[in-house]
Amino acid sequence: MRLLVENLSKEYHGNVRALSEVHLALGPGVLGLLGPNGAGKSTLMRILATITQPSSGRVLWNDSEIAGHPEPLRAVLGYLPQDFGVYNALEFLEYLAAVKGIEAGAARNRIRELLELVNLTEAIKRPLGGYSGGMRQRIGIAQALLNDPEVLIVDEPTAGLDPEERVRFRNLLSELSGERIVILSTHIVSDVEAVATRIAILVHGQLIANDVPEALLALVSGKVWEVVVSSAELPALRLKHLVSSTAHRSDGVHARVVADAAPQNAARSLDPSLEDAYLFALGRQRNKANGGAA
């Protein structure tokens, strides 16, 4: 089970480059694909889901190129796009099961199992139009799992979900990862922090990082600090340093700063988080684009 992305580039009409020379080698596990809005994540997802053709480069599924022969990948693919509409969950799942070529009897059993898995058995009876964002996403993941996919692609699955639904969805993905390639695209770091076995960061169509979480954390090891400043001093601190988060306390604003050296004498060293590593990587990329100017 191997999905290989080689020199993948995509240009849209009007010479807008969405992806540039992307390399990825994927095996079983969860790849967390991080990047700001407009980084090219959805384009990459659509290419991997065989919907969009790349401008150059290739995608290989078990050493077979998918551009000319997408069927072998499609047969084992589950895809949950960023947004989709559902009218009736059961009919929708039955419909997609038939489209995916699953025999009717097997489809019925499979759908029943999946509805239990995503905790939607009761909701099936719900009146039409009564699906919340979280329920729609659970229907989405159920349809993606209909054919017991070896490759599961989920694009921004937690957008619009409340915190409880997000946690539930992340847990579900984690349980499903097993012997599958799961590609989880998001711009929310906490989504991948919990489940990803590997993390790739895409910025302006370029892959700026592709490693295990520990390696990304090592990038900012010894570079994360906590400083306490007054509210008035905070803007100046932000101008000078990369501030990944702030929290107001009775003694002032506790700012989490990513910097090579301690920003203040009183600064306290902290264990880095993936959020720090992600922001650090983005900042480094931005500086590079600016020609090295800080």
Binding site: Y12, R17, P36, G38, R46, P81, F92, Y95, G101
Partner: protein
């Protein structure tokens, strides 16, 4: 077998989705209305000055031609939205990632379209039985004679229409308003060309099959038969003749079955042209349009670096938004994206409608000049729902007192700019009555567009109705439908006044429609 199951699943899901929609009731109502028109004699088939006795054969022939001719128009617009729905809801991308082939998917959609159209035909056929009993001219119901024309004439025509609807959705530039107008032209050509050229090969509707047999029974020759549909009552009585129906030959049946093969060919063509929901094959996806190209620095870590942000205070806070400002904004929005050649053609038509010497010819040019911006007008009243900006627009100050009139006025300005050549010539000639008729047309068009847009939420009804009106009225100089005063004689008739009243009613309807939108 798996492919057949997939086709069935796609068709079933699509059909069920449609049946639940309010618009499906409209399709049923339309079929019933056609049946009503035929039963009450408002829609009749005439062979010279004769019509058939209302036996099963005549009713079957009449209603199957009604189905082929009229459902092929309205039905197309009812069903031409099936791929678009999958595209809009995002379900298309899920389907695109499955092993289903483009042909299988599109065939499923065609089958769904055909089921909807076929249901309309079935309703019409059922109304035929009622019609025969109500008319009471011959109470013996011969089911084969009544239903065979539906089966062999109407249904193959519906299969072609179902496939054409999918083809139009598969071709990017025919998906939208342009496709709606192009189909209207195809429909007009499809009805008129076979009769004009006297060629049976292009006869999708099956007009010749019925005509040849009925004309024989009426002992007339084809040239002087005047075999035609008529809408409305006659002021002179028609004599009757007895027609025992079509004697079906193998050649006739094969000629109809060929149309089924043709529709399968259309599905294959659609499969070649269909983009399989790949957004990169069409226009730039929406989320990409705002992307800064690589290399241009962007501040994407907004939370980490902040400069002191201050906004210039507004010197005078506007309690009321200004109408001229909104009008200009609406006009810019309406004209946004038009290419240079659009303006060139519009200018050419303005010049021609002023410069052509013959008044009749100028009228024809005006019809084209006011047909040219049809896609601009058809977006009136629907933009807010189509672009999902209604929450912003309707929460702005005075959405009814400012925005709606501004949108309407923008439509009037477009009508004024594109029709000014004709108006200028009337003014120059001192033809004030003609000028009045023209001005009423100028107000009528955007009002019709706005009203239909607000109530239907789609540009389709305006595109079809307006194009049809232009074709029947100004282009054929029928004064009842000459809403723009293009024919010199129209100004002297009461019709401009009727269109003025219609304009007022439509404006009021638009207002009510927008109020309803605000409340919902």
């Amino acid at each position: 077998m798996t492919k057949a199951i997939a086709v069935w699943a796609i068709a079933r899901a699509d059909f069920l989705e449609r049946v639940r929609r309010y618009s499906f009731l409209l399709t049923v109502a339309f079929a019933l209305y056609l049946g009503y028109l035929a039963t009450t004699g408002k829609l009749m088939l005439r062979v010279g000055n004769m019509q058939g006795i209302f036996n099963s054969a005549w009713i079957g022939g009449l209603l199957s031609l009604v189905a082929s001719a009229f459902i092929s128009l309205a039905g197309f617009y009812f069903v031409k939205n099936t791929i678009e729905r999958d595209r809009r809801t995002g379900v298309g991308q899920i389907i695109a990632a499955t092993p289903v082939s483009k042909f299988t998917y599109l065939l499923g959609k065609v089958v769904s379209n055909f089921t909807v159209l076929g249901l309309m035909v079935v309703i019409l056929a059922a109304s035929g039985i009622v019609m025969q009993l109500v008319r009471g001219e011959d109470r013996h119901i011969d089911l084969w004679k009544l239903l065979a024309p539906f089966l062999l004439l109407a249904l193959p025509a519906m299969a072609v229409v179902a496939a054409l609807a999918v083809l139009f959705e598969a071709i990017p530039f025919l998906r939208g308003g342009l496709g709606n107008i192009v189909y209207l032209c195809v429909w007009i050509a499809g009805l008129s060309l076979p009769l004009a050229a006297n060629t049976h090969a292009l006869d999708l509707v099956g007009m010749f099959v019925v005509a040849d047999s009925a004309i024989n029974a009426a002992h007339l020759s084809f040239q002087n038969s005047g075999f035609q549909f008529d809408l409305g009552y006659f002021d002179y009585p028609l004599s009757t003749f007895r027609w025992e129906g079509i004697t079906w030959t193998a050649e006739m049946v094969i000629s109809r079955v060929i149309w089924l093969g043709f529709s399968l060919g259309l599905v294959a063509l659609s499969a070649i042209l269909f983009d399989r929901f790949d957004p990169s094959r069409g226009r730039l996806p929406r989320e990409r349009q705002k992307i800064t190209p690589i290399g241009v620095p962007e501040r994407h870590i907004a939370s980490t670096q902040v400069t002191a942000t201050t906004l210039t205070p507004l010197a005078v806070k506007q309690a009321h938004s200004r109408l001229p400002g909104i009008l200009i904004a609406e006009l810019r929005l309406m004209l946004k994206g038009q290419k240079w050649w659009w303006y060139l053609v519009a200018t050419g038509l303005v010049v021609a409608s002023a410069a052509v010497p013959s008044a009749e010819a100028r009228g024809m040019v005006l019809a084209f000049a006011w047909l040219w911006p049809v896609l601009l007008w058809s977006s009136m009243g629907i933009r807010e729902t189509r672009d999902q900006t209604y929450q912003l627009i309707f929460s702005a100050p005075h959405p009814i007192a400012r925005q709606l009139p501004a949108a309407w006025m923008a439509g009037v300005v477009v009508a004024l700019l594109t029709g000014c050549g004709f108006g200028f010539r009337l003014l120059l000639g001192g033809n004030l009555k003609g000028l009045m008729a023209w001005a009423i047309g100028l107000l009528f068009i955007p009002t019709l567009a706005l009203s239909l847009g607000v109530w239907s939420g789609t540009g389709k009804p305006f595109e079809v109705l307006y194009s049809l009106l232009c074709y029947v009225g100004p282009l054929h100089a029928i004064p009842q439908f000459d809403f723009m005063g293009s024919a010199p004689a129209t100004a002297a008739t009461p019709y401009p006044l009727i269109y003025l009243i219609a304009t007022c009613v439509l404006a009021f309807a638009a207002l009510l429609g927008r109020k309803r939108q605000l409340k919902s």
